[in-house]
């Protein structure tokens, strides 16, 4: 198993940026068994997350080895150093007061810097700065290319939810033993998910919320959801999904809702994607 937890807590664009607010939700996440955290330079939460986790380790007796901390390299960083991004990772470690990262991901795979950046990642992994390396926002095209280079990722993070199931990518990753993480796992509770009759029926059946059912669907299809919230009660709610499983038919019914609907257009954040 490549992560210690089944859920990752994200500190993305809609997360708390202030220390107290983030500490409050991260504390609840840890108490609920979520010890995996995701950040990125563009989220402006790297430093504050580092301080929050340091406080958490001190007050709750959690060891560094219990935590799973991952960050990313942004597109501008790939361009700025023409792919040789080690100095940015060193800066991130310093900012977060860490000696290593559990995972480092390419946030947006700019084609002109992909190969050089990936080589840089492999080097940092060999040096022990990073335990696992991965990439976000890829499609089959990029995955095949990475496998062709002989450097497949260990983690792939995609925008995935019942309206965009990325079945081909998930199956491909399963074949190559690549862990798949899903960001925006609930599609920001799009009305087509929130008001879906089937999902509501399942929520009623299991005495859970629609959000919990969808997160369970991610886990039951072998995908780790990365969710975020500013509300401690929401974090507790979403963490409480270990007491039920969906049946094969129920999983199939949710997966069938796929309409390839994505909120974040890859080409808009990654020109030439």
């Amino acid at each position: 198993m490549v992560t210690k937890t089944n859920l990752l807590f994200g500190t993305g664009v809609s997360s708390n940026k202030d220390y107290e607010g983030l500490l409050r939700v991260v504390r609840v996440a840890a108490e609920s068994g979520i010890l995996g955290f995701d950040t990125a330079p563009s989220y402006h939460t790297q430093g504050v997350l580092g301080r929050v986790l340091k406080q958490l380790m001190a007050e709750a007796g959690i060891q560094r080895s219990d935590l799973f901390i991952q960050t990313k390299i942004d597109a501008w960083q790939m361009q700025n150093k023409c792919g040789s991004v080690q100095s940015f990772v060193e800066a991130a470690l310093k900012e977060m007061e860490l000696t290593y990262l559990d995972a480092l991901l390419i946030h947006w795979p700019l084609p002109e810097y992909m190969e050089r950046t990936w080589q840089s990642f492999v080097q940092m992994q060999a040096q022990g700065m990073v335990r696992q390396i991965g990439i976000c926002n890829v499609r089959m095209r990029q995955l095949r290319q990475l496998v062709q280079w002989g450097m497949p990722p260990q983690i792939v993070q995609l925008e995935r939810n019942p309206l965009r199931t990325c079945t081909a990518e998930v199956d491909f990753c399963r074949q190559y033993d690549i862990l798949v993480q899903a960001y925006s796992p609930l599609c920001k509770m799009n009305t087509r998910i929130r008001d879906d009759a089937n999902l509501r029926a399942l929520a009623g059946k299991y005495q859970k919320s629609v959000g919990q059912v969808v997160l369970r669907w991610h886990l039951d299809t072998g995908v780790t959801p990365v969710f975020t919230s500013t509300k401690p009660e929401r974090v507790q709610e979403y963490a409480a999904i270990d007491d039920f499983c969906l049946s094969a038919e129920e999983i199939k019914a949710i997966t069938a809702k796929n309409i390839d609907y994505k909120m974040y257009l890859e080409s808009w954040s990654c020109p030439g994607f």
């Binding site: 501008w76 361009q79 609907y261 974040y264 080409s267 808009w268 954040s269 990654c270 020109p271 030439g272």
Partner: protein, 208 residues
């Protein structure tokens, strides 16, 4: 007045609005009513151009629900309905004098609004702009910061906030939506053809 300012969340927008109000106030105080009226009209037109560009840009933000459209039309001003079947949904990003180079860059930024398989792209370019290596302030709003850095276009970003003042004739043509006759021809750029093939995009190139 304070209610309008409260609605303008960005500091820069507030400063510009206050500057405009001050400038207009000075003109009226000096008795230059015609100049004040011209300034009002010019500012209104400028905002109209900006609004049209921003409405196009907004389609690509996560807030937009426009996704998996049948056609993406990029290039010079043209009437989309001449190229696509009735009932098709499309997104059009057109601007006067847009070069093939600029259209390709915009394609690189926007094609994900098409379906994963079988998306159709129409590039509409005027003959004189096929070989031009130029970008205008109508192109820049669609470029990622990485692209602006690569193409050294950062200085054009602030010009793109005042299109009527830096490109008055083009801005008027942009608002009026002028049209030309286009006819399909093979795309003259192999790199664009390859780009589309690799991403399973059907390219329709029309020249006028």
């Amino acid at each position: 007045m304070s209610g309008i300012l409260k609605k303008m969340k960005h500091k820069k927008s507030r400063l510009v609005a206050l500057g405009f109000a001050f400038g207009n106030g000075v003109l009226i105080w000096c008795g230059w009513y015609v100049a004040a009226a011209v300034l009002c009209i010019a500012t209104g037109l400028d905002l109209a151009v900006l609004q049209k560009i921003n409405r196009q840009k907004e389609l690509f933000s996560p807030r937009s629900t426009v996704r998996n459209v049948d056609y993406l039309i990029i290039g010079d001003m043209c009437s989309a309905t001449k190229f696509i079947p009735v009932g098709s949904n499309y997104v059009q990003i057109s601007a006067p004098g847009r070069s093939l180079n600029a259209s390709y860059e915009i394609l690189r930024h926007t094609f994900s609004i098409l379906p994963e398989q079988g998306g159709k792209v129409i590039l509409a370019i005027r003959e004189g702009n096929v070989d031009k290596n130029c970008y205008t302030l109508f192109d820049v709003p669609f470029f990622h910061p990485v692209t602006l850095e690569r193409l050294r276009l950062k200085s054009m970003v602030w010009q793109s906030k005042f299109p009527l003042f830096f490109a008055p004739l083009r801005s008027l043509r942009f608002l009026l939506g002028t049209d030309r006759q286009y006819h399909p021809v093979p795309c003259p750029r192999e790199d664009i053809r390859d780009f589309c093939t690799q991403r399973d995009l059907q390219l329709i190139y029309v020249q006028g």
